[in-house]
């Protein structure tokens, strides 16, 4: 594996706190101050009750793999050729919401659905990204 590659996000005012927290090594998800709904991805309102009064909850960063795919084609070509194969995962966080991420580490190719994973924050260019690694069970 060459150096990790990531396309930088273009955050909005609503999502910037998520990415800024990643740069500090924290995973923050938005939580509705009215109905308590914890959700992904950040928006300016709660998608369950519509309320704009939101706060942030620090996540444990632990979860399990809902699904995964090992990618063998660089659809955007160029520098992505050097990332192949890489693994994309859907992670069910311990607190509930599901997020899409990338699974890294030497044992990523052997991942199975249901495997425990935990968040890591590799520095790639100017930012740190909430990727995951396989974790010991329990």
């Amino acid at each position: 594996m060459l150096d990790l590659l990531a396309t930088p996000p273009n955050p909005t005012g609503a999502s910037a706190p998520f990415w800024d927290a990643c740069d500090r090594g924290e995973l923050l998800f938005p939580k509705c101050g009215r109905c308590g709904h914890l959700f992904y991805y950040p928006r300016r309102h709660c998608p369950l009750c519509g309320d704009p009064g939101l706060g942030w909850q620090r996540m444990s960063g632990r979860g399990t793999v809902f699904s995964h795919s090992h990618v063998h084609v660089a659809f955007q070509g160029g520098a992505w050729d050097g990332q192949l194969p890489y693994t994309v995962v859907l992670v069910d966080l311990a607190e509930g919401p599901r997020m899409l991420s990338r699974l890294i580490g030497g044992d990523a190719a052997a991942v199975r659905s249901g495997d425990p994973v935990s968040v890591v924050f590799p520095q790639i260019g100017e930012r740190r990204y909430p990727f995951f690694e396989r974790a010991a069970a329990g």
Binding site: A6, T7, P9, S67, H72, V88, L90, L100, S113, F131
Partner: protein, 387 residues
């Protein structure tokens, strides 16, 4: 429910050659498909007063309905461009045409999509090269999710895990659509495929291989609608739209419901209820097959198979010509061409008229056309009936 009881029918169909059309622009392709559909219905160009299209994915254009109207040489009273996703775009075009005709905005409406997605893509691009943003980029691109194959691979892996299905289930869909494409002179894939061929095709994004993925195509398809009996060539040939069901549940794969909750089940239930029918009333299944997994999920959501048993149904021969529910007799997106699903609709009309030649489904009275755009983000089910 949409279109039930309407006397607006599909009176004409038009298709261009598919595959590589070097030297053709998207608007030229769409115009050729519209002219073919007008000829099929017996209308003159000057009869056309409604025009609904989708602009090309590879080279997005704003205001593409007026681009096409000018290029054709018509001045319609009703024109719009519709972008919903997958074959649901085609269904929404039909819905708009029915409403426009019923409400008196126009008498003869054309619905069309076509482009040069194959010859028009940049050198070195892989798969369908889409210039459009889909809205989830901030939460997908940093993690390496590019294009449509990877999200469908995540869905396919979930399907395999949930039901204990195997690559033989996915392969069965690729094989039956290829068998059917061999009977279609206007199909990109004309060589037989075996299970060994399928397994030898390269992994794109596990578990999906090249032969799990639909084609990238140049080509166009068009439908002409008018009131029953209005078309000069339409008597006894107009195909009725009995029902259209639709459901939108999400956009990006991270927010996709688990398989039993995908919107196809709700879309199908609405269509069946509106038509007063069920799978037992259907003789042709033109299911959106952008990927093999799409067909397995749709078969189960639409009641053709029980959950997890879609692959077994396909392997049983039920979806072959001569079986209970022939699947995509034209070869589908997997083996004929990917024209946004417009050819699923033109093929259903051709079959219901009894004009499909050596791939004719005997005794076909009703066809179910399914569509899904995004990652089953928007789902549609439509029932068409012979005159």
């Amino acid at each position: 429910m949409p279109a039930v009881g309407s006397d607006v029918v599909i009176a004409g169909i038009g298709e261009t050659p598919v595959g590589r059309l070097p030297g053709w622009s998207p608007v030229e392709i769409q115009a050729a498909a519209v002219l073919a559909a007008l000829r099929d219905a017996g209308f003159a160009l000057s009869d056309l007063d409604g025009l609904i299209n989708l602009d090309p994915y590879a080279t997005p254009n704003s205001m593409f309905s007026s681009t096409l109207a000018e290029h054709l040489g018509v001045a319609p009273r009703f024109a719009c461009t519709v972008d919903v996703g997958g074959t649901v775009t085609g269904m929404t075009m039909l819905q708009q045409a029915v409403w426009a005709i019923e409400s008196g905005y126009c008498d003869v409406a054309a619905c069309v999509y076509g482009e040069n997605a194959l010859t028009g893509r940049p050198a070195g691009a892989q798969g369908l090269h889409m210039h459009n943003l889909l809205g989830g980029e901030e939460w997908e691109e940093p993690f390496g999710l590019h294009g449509m194959v990877i999200p469908y691979a995540l869905l396919a892996q979930r399907y395999l895990d949930l039901y204990g299905a195997t690559d033989a289930d996915l392969a069965a869909v690729a094989l039956v659509t290829r068998r059917h494409a061999l009977l279609n002179d206007n199909a990109q894939m004309r060589k037989p495929m075996t299970l060994e061929d399928y397994r030898a095709s390269r992994l794109i994004s596990s578990p999906l291989r090249l032969f799990d993925c639909s084609l990238v195509s140049d080509g166009g398809g068009a439908l002409v609608l008018t009131r029953a009996g209005r078309a000069p060539q339409g008597r006894g040939r107009g195909v009725a739209i009995r029902a259209i069901g639709m459901k939108t549940t999400h956009n990006s794969v991270a927010l996709m419901p688990d398989i039993p909750g995908l919107g196809m089940a709700a879309a199908g239930a609405d269509a069946y209820e509106a038509a007063g029918m069920g799978p037992e009333d259907i003789q042709i299944a033109n299911l959106h097959d952008a990927f093999t997994i799409s067909v397995l999920v749709s078969l189960e959501a639409l009641g053709f198979a029980r959950p997890g048993e879609g692959g077994a149904l396909v392997r049983s021969g039920a979806m072959d010509l001569g079986g209970r529910w022939p699947l995509n007799p034209h070869g589908g997106l997997l083996s004929q061409a990917h024209i946004g699903g417009m050819l699923h609709i033109t093929e259903a009309v051709r079959q219901l008229r009894g004009e499909a030649g050596r791939r004719q489904v005997e005794g076909a009275r009703r066809a179910l056309v399914s569509g899904n755009g995004g990652i089953f983000s928007v789902c549609g089910a439509m029932i068409l009936e012979k005159p």
